[in-house]
C-alpha cells in the first residue's frame, strides 16, 4: 500500500492539487506529475544543486524536500522566473555571457544566483563564487557563469 495523500502545493503563484506518496520528493512531483521539468535531477542527494528551487524565497533542494512537507510554502521554480514573456535578468545575463554549454545545471544555477542577488544586490566576485559553489557544472569551468552574475551586481568589483 502506498498511502498516497492529497497534497496542495503553491508553485509559481498557482495552487496545485496532487496525490503524492509520503516518500515522493517535491522534485519528483514537479517533474513527473506537474511536467515542470526545468528543475533537474542529477545526484538526488542534495549535493549537485541542479534541483535548486526557492521555498519562501530561500534556495532549497527539491530532491531533499518531501512533497508532503512542501505544503504551506511558496515554491518558485525556473518556470516561474520569466515575467510577461521577458526572461529574468539572470537568465538573460547567462545567455549574454554564454554561461552555459549543455545547460543541465543552468536552472539550478539561475535560481541560486537569483537568491543571491535578492539578498545581496551587489555581491563581489568572491561572494558569487562562494554562493554558486553549491551548484556543480561539468562544462563551463564556472568563469562565464560568475561573470554573468557579476554583470548584474551594482558595479564590477575586485576579488574582495
Amino acid at each position: 500500500m502506498t498511502d498516497k495523500q492529497a497534497v496542495t502545493l503553491s508553485i509559481n503563484g498557482d495552487p496545485y492539487e496532487v496525490l503524492a506518496a509520503p516518500r515522493q520528493t517535491l522534485l519528483q512531483v514537479l517533474r513527473e506529475q506537474l511536467s515542470l521539468t526545468g528543475t533537474k535531477c542529477a545526484c538526488n542527494n542534495g549535493v549537485c544543486g541542479s534541483c535548486t528551487v526557492l521555498a519562501d524565497g530561500l534556495p532549497m533542494r527539491a530532491c531533499l524536500m518531501l512533497a508532503v512537507a512542501a505544503t504551506d510554502r511558496e515554491i518558485t521554480t525556473i518556470e516561474g522566473l520569466e515575467a510577461d514573456g521577458e526572461l529574468h535578468p539572470v537568465q538573460q545575463a547567462i545567455i549574454d555571457h554564454q554561461g552555459l554549454q549543455c545547460g543541465f545545471c543552468t536552472p539550478g544555477m539561475v535560481i541560486a544566483a537569483k537568491a543571491l542577488l535578492d539578498s545581496n544586490p551587489n555581491p563581489t566576485l568572491n561572494e558569487i563564487r562562494e554562493e554558486l559553489s553549491g551548484n556543480l557544472c561539468r562544462c563551463t569551468g564556472y568563469v562565464k557563469i560568475a561573470d554573468a552574475v557579476l554583470s548584474l551586481a551594482g558595479a564590477e568589483r575586485g576579488q574582495n
Partner: protein, 277 residues
C-alpha cells in the same frame, strides 16, 4: 510509509513510542537523501515542522536555547550567538551550501551524529547541553556524553531531541570553528572548535574539540587544563596539539588518510588560537 505532522511534542512522542520503525523528519537534508538512496525504510515519518516549541532561538538567563528544528541558516545569522556560543554560529555558517543551510536543522544534524559534521565538535567546545524529551519528561545530556560513535548518540529510541542549550558563560570568551576541507562546502578533513577567554595575556578558559578525528569529537580535559592558565605560547599549543593528535582516531577516506588528518591538528589548533588572540 505514513507521514504525520503532529502539532505538539507530546503527540509526536506518543507516535514515536508506539512504533519502533517510526523516524522523525526535521529539515530532510540527511534523512530524505537516505530515503532516496533506499538506506532507510521507516514505517512512519513524523514531520516536526508544526511543533512551535522546537523552533527558534531564545536567550534565557544563563543559556541560549536553540530549538531542534532551527536551521543552520538561522543559527548562522543570529548575532545573539556571541561569546561562548560564537563557536556554534561559526560552525553553522560553514556547513555545506546555503540551499542546505536553509533546510538542515541543528536537531537533525546532531541526531544523525556524523563525526565529520561541524556541529558535534562545536557543541562540545561550547560545553552545550542537549535536551531530550521523552514521554516521562526531559533530561539533559552534556554534548560530551551525547556523541557516542559513528551515527550513534545517547538519545533513546523513544526520545526526541528538543533543544540545544549553549551556556552564556564564560562571558568574555570567544569561539572559532576552523575547518580544513578540500573544497568549499565539503565535510571537514579536520576541524578544530575552540573557545578561549583571555584576561591580561593569560588564558582564563579554554575548551577545544577536534572533529573528523574519530567516531566522536576528540575532547581532552587535560588539554583544556594545559591551555587554561597558560600564556598560550607556541610551545604550549604544540604540546596541546600533540596530545590531541595522539588521541585522534580518524579514518582513511577520500578526504585524507588517517595520518594526514592527524598531522593537520597541531597547526590548525595554532591557527585557531592565533585568530582568537
Amino acid at each position: 510509509m505514513k507521514y504525520i505532522e503532529p502539532a505538539s511534542l507530546p503527540e509526536a512522542l506518543e507516535i514515536l513510542s508506539a512504533d519502533d520503525e517510526a523516524r522523525c523528519l526535521a529539515g530532510g537534508a540527511t534523512l530524505v537523501a537516505m530515503l532516496n538512496a533506499d538506506l532507510v525504510e521507516p514505517s512512519t515519518l513524523i514531520g516536526l515542522r508544526r511543533i512551535d516549541e522546537l523552533a527558534g532561538i531564545s536567550v534565557s538567563g544563563d543559556h541560549i536555547r536553540i530549538g531542534a528544528t532551527t536551521t543552520h541558516a538561522q543559527i548562522a545569522g543570529d548575532d545573539r550567538l556571541t561569546g561562548n556560543a560564537a563557536v556554534v554560529r561559526d560552525a553553522a555558517r560553514q556547513i555545506a551550501h546555503s540551499a542546505i543551510r536553509n533546510m538542515g536543522t541543528i536537531g537533525g544534524a546532531v541526531c544523525h551524529a556524523d563525526p565529520n559534521a561541524d556541529f558535534p565538535g562545536a557543541l562540545v567546545a561550547a560545553n552545550a547541553v542537549l535536551e531530550a524529551a521523552g514521554q516521562s519528561g526531559r533530561r539533559q545530556i552534556p554534548a560530551d556524553e551525547f556523541f557516542l560513535d559513528y551515527l550513534e548518540t545517547s538519545l533513546e529510541e523513544d526520545e526526541i531531541l528538543s533543544a540545544v542549550m549553549v551556556p552564556v558563560e564564560p562571558v568574555g570568551a570567544r569561539g572559532r570553528h576552523l575547518k580544513f576541507s578540500r573544497t568549499h562546502g565539503d565535510y571537514a578533513t579536520i576541524s578544530i572548535s575552540l573557545v578561549l577567554a583571555i584576561n591580561s595575556g593569560a588564558c582564563s578558559h579554554a575548551r577545544v574539540a577536534v572533529g573528523s578525528a574519530g567516531p566522536a569529537p576528540v575532547h581532552l580535559a587535560e588539554v583544556d587544563a594545559l591551555l587554561t592558565g597558560s600564556d598560550l605560547s607556541g610551545e604550549t599549543i604544540k604540546q596541546a596539539g600533540q596530545k590531541l593528535m595522539e588521541a585522534a582516531d580518524p579514518v582513511d577516506d577520500v578526504r585524507g588518510s588517517a595520518e594526514y588528518r592527524r598531522m593537520i591538528i597541531p597547526g590548525l589548533l595554532q591557527r585557531a588560537v592565533d585568530e582568537l588572540r
